[in-house]
């Protein structure tokens, strides 16, 4: 369970990792951090000199077992918060946040599987926390990850995913909706029923399903999975989308 009291804390940026041309990971040291569960998010608050405040939610990318907290932020043009986080913040800077938040879109290794994770673009972030949590504990739970991205430039954690996919029980599937890499022979279209059927697991295996991405992506994937016969109650959604950046 999440902490009963929720306080704003000052986090110190210890590192900034470039993930894609539009996304960076902020590695944070958060004194007094109570720990989190994979899938949870934090609220980030920026305060201007005149007192104006802007607040946004960002998913936690790191595994609960990691020593530092990582948030991956996609830069949204005209966003109020994300350009500051991706362009201005650097090691040594401080950031105000509260969390961890959420008790629904979460997975713990002992919840078991099989697991179906469906990500649209930067909707991969909270699902990556689950994948990392699974890997850190050497879990062999059957896990399938389907990642939809416009082009390979938009794929977060590319090398790490390739490495983890070589391990036990994790299958990583990708589809490119706009610009597949040269020589790509995999999926190159929007997520559809055939693709989800191919990725599996079958509804009879009763997978726990987590879908995160822009609102329209999430709606569509959820409808397709229900159409394939998956139990609505097993489908967890997080509409990520441009929530105001």
């Amino acid at each position: 369970m999440a902490p009963a009291r929720i306080a704003w804390r000052l986090a110190a940026v210890t590192d900034v990792l470039v993930e894609t041309p539009r996304a960076k990971t902020l590695v944070l040291d958060v004194p007094g951090w109570p720990g989190h569960v994979a899938g949870q998010h934090v609220d980030v608050r920026l305060t201007a000199e005149d007192g104006y405040q802007a607040q946004r939610s960002y998913s936690i990318a790191s595994a609960p077992e990691d020593a530092t907290l990582a948030l991956t932020v996609e830069r949204l043009e005209d966003g109020e918060v994300s350009p500051y986080l991706t362009d201005e913040l650097g090691p040594g800077d401080e950031l105000e946040l509260r969390g961890p938040i959420g008790g629904y879109f979460v997975w713990r290794s002992h919840d078991g599987g099989p697991l179906l994770l469906v990500a649209g673009g930067s909707g991969l972030v909270p699902l990556m926390a689950m994948v990392r949590h699974r890997a850190t504990l050497s879990s062999t739970v059957d896990a399938r990850l389907l990642l939809s991205a416009r082009s390979s430039d938009d794929v977060l954690y590319r090398d790490e995913l390739a490495r983890l996919a070589a391990g036990d029980g994790l299958a990583v599937h990708q589809t490119f909706t706009r610009e597949p890499p040269a020589g790509w022979s995999g999926f190159a279209r929007r997520v559809d029923a055939d693709m989800l059927g191919h990725v599996g697991p079958a509804p009879s295996q009763r997978p726990r399903i987590f879908i995160c991405g822009p609102t329209a992506f999430v709606e569509r994937a959820a409808d397709l999975l229900v159409g394939l016969g998956h139990d609505t109650a097993a489908i967890h959604l997080e509409r990520f989308g441009p929530t105001g950046g």
Binding site: M1, A2, A4, I6, E80, G102, T215, A216
Partner: protein, 108 residues
């Protein structure tokens, strides 16, 4: 605030709910006043604008309206909200324990 004219989900309301209720509430079941559907708050639809509106994913009935004023939150709730939170002796960062701690540790 949002370039996407459509909704998010109740999950994004977790921080405010935790502030208001003192507990993680997105997994809490909410029963719609209008159609009687029971779903976790996280599965409701969240509309962000000048204020925050949470609606039933089935019939669109309003479950919560919140406005952030400079000095306070104004929150209007409808339907049935079920609050579940661990008693104070539980370490909130840990998962549910099978049994309470020894009696000694509960003395004030």
């Amino acid at each position: 605030m949002s370039e996407d004219p459509r909704w998010l989900d109740g999950n994004a309301l977790g921080g405010l709910l935790q502030e208001l209720f003192g507990a993680e509430m997105t997994g809490a079941p909410h029963t719609c006043q209008s159609c009687g559907t029971e779903r976790p708050v996280a599965a409701y639809r969240l509309y962000l604008g000048a204020g925050t509106v949470l609606r039933c994913p089935v019939c669109d009935q309003i479950a919560l309206v919140a406005a952030a004023l400079p000095d306070r939150h104004v929150v209007h709730l409808t339907g049935a909200w079920r609050l579940e939170m661990p008693p104070a002796w539980l370490d909130p960062t840990k998962e549910r324990r099978a049994s309470p701690p020894p009696a000694d540790s509960r003395k004030r």
